[in-house]
């Protein structure tokens, strides 16, 4: 897979080097630089403030533990978001999946979203709630790709690097996630969604 560097501050390699030596200030600087990006990914995926903050803290703890494993030729943001992504998935599996009526890896055809009688009478908050519910019904990877693309504005290339899959697969899974969401949302958004 092609390794690309997204634009990141020039001093990041220096900061990483200092963190390896146990420099607290450098660690805080890196945290300041990337905390919002990690939080955005975690919140978009988990949609809970406390859980997202837990993931942010755990991500930077892991960063400190594993900083020696980071190779300078790699993109730091990609590496950090890989940690965050893994934590999000673990967190979701532990705390969310067990209370659902269905599992996220169920086929869309198996999902049974309660039908509404008046398709055009949904309020804005209803749409939000329904969308969250539909998003939960996507497969793990489709949901992660949709979140990364839509809420984190990551490019396909970056997503591919974070998930360690090809750009073509990312593109295909993004298309499928959109199609599945549309299929699930149809009863709530009119005939043609």
């Amino acid at each position: 897979m092609e390794i690309t560097r997204s634009a990141e501050p020039h001093n990041v390699p220096l900061l990483v080097g200092r963190i390896k030596e146990g420099d607290r200030e450098a660690f805080m600087e890196i945290t300041r630089l990337y905390q919002k990006k990690v939080y955005l990914l975690a919140y978009s995926y988990l949609r809970n403030n406390e859980d997202a903050l837990d993931v942010v803290q755990e991500t930077f703890l892991r960063l400190y533990q594993k900083v020696n494993m980071f190779r300078s030729e790699k993109n730091f943001q990609t590496w950090l978001l890989q940690i965050a992504k893994n934590l999000c998935i673990d967190y979701y599996r532990k705390n969310y999946s067990r209370n659902k009526d269905f599992r996220s890896d169920k086929d869309v055809e198996e999902v049974n979203v309660p039908a509404q009688n008046d398709k055009n009478s949904h309020s804005f908050s209803d749409i939000k709630r329904v969308f969250v519910e539909c998003l939960d019904r996507l497969t793990e990877k489709q949901r992660m790709i949709f979140v990364m693309k839509h809420y984190n504005n990551l490019e396909y290339k970056e997503i591919a690097q974070i998930l360690r899959i090809s750009v073509g697969t990312v593109k295909s899974l993004h298309f499928k996630s959109t199609q599945n969401l549309r299929a699930l949302m149809t009863p709530y958004m009119g005939e043609k969604t």
């Binding site: 146990g22 805080m28 919002k36 969308f131 809420y151 396909y156 959109t178």
Partner: protein, 269 residues
């Protein structure tokens, strides 16, 4: 929906999110201008994107609720105050680093010694075979020995030929028409004579090569006799038998054979 529309539809999501190259984007734009079905499809995706955007308020709200200035301090406190509980993991070693680590030195030393011993053994074996080969190439030095071997073989072959001929000739001398049946005579004549003629052809070059003139002369006489014998063996009459016996006695073949055998036995190499 035709095939082209299906292909375009698969690209619409990437088109909307700006993930296509200029050419593909233009191609899709041109198609959208003329295809109401694909326009409708794009509209559907846009509606979904709007639905997804409905969560943006929540995201913004949540982000606004976080104290971003305090968070790095909190996290670094968690990391550094429990530093002993959170040791940094050792860097992952590359394949090359694993190969050159110090504790593997005895293994490499053993491998090196093994390699050297193996090379030495190979060298010794190859050198021995080379020496053998070089000896083989200088075989011309001992050509004399080869000649002596060949001479000895010629001597033994000639002795063997003479001995067999002697027995056959003795049988002829001792044969009498009354005691010897016709069938025996015919078999004797044909089988023995043919064998000895073949044997003579074999020893001829050896006799020539080693200039065994005396032996050759006697062997030629025996050969001539056997040749004559094969010519008449089908109808060997009593008269023929007496002629042959006369010929043997006249040429004193048995005596000559005896003398020659003695000479050859004495001249053993």
């Amino acid at each position: 929906m035709n095939e082209r529309c299906k292909r375009i539809n698969r690209e619409l999501v990437a088109f909307l999110y700006g993930e296509l190259d200029n050419n593909t984007r233009e191609r899709i734009r041109s198609h959208l201008d003329i295809c109401p079905h694909c326009q409708e499809e794009l509209q559907g995706i846009k509606e979904l994107v709007r639905a997804a955007d409905s969560l943006n308020d929540n995201v913004e709200e949540a982000m606004a609720s976080v104290d971003w200035d305090a968070l790095p301090n909190q996290i670094s406190d968690a990391v550094f105050d429990h530093k002993s509980a959170l040791p940094q993991e050792a860097p992952r070693r590359s394949f090359w680093e694993i190969l050159v680590q110090r504790r593997l030195k005895p293994v490499y030393a053993a491998l090196l010694v093994g390699l050297m011993l193996g090379s030495l053994a190979t060298l010794i074996v190859m050198r021995t075979s080379l020496l053998r080969k070089s000896r083989g190439e200088s075989f011309s030095v001992s050509r004399e020995f080869l000649d002596r071997v060949e001479l000895e073989m010629a001597r033994r072959d000639t002795l063997d030929y003479l001995e067999k001929s002697q027995y056959v000739l003795l049988d002829f001398i001792q044969a009498s028409p009354e005691k010897t049946p016709q069938s025996w005579r015919c078999d004797l004549a044909s089988e023995a004579a043919k064998d000895l003629l073949a044997k003579k052809r074999y020893i001829n070059p050896q006799l020539d090569k080693f200039h065994m003139a005396k032996a050759k002369e006697i062997c030629d006489q025996i050969e001539f006799l056997f040749f004559e014998l094969t010519q008449v063996s089908d109808q060997l009459t009593e008269e023929d038998l007496q002629n042959i016996q006369g010929l043997i006695e006249e040429k004193q073949l048995l005596f000559k054979i005896k003398l020659l055998k003695r000479d050859l036995e004495e001249s053993e190499v």
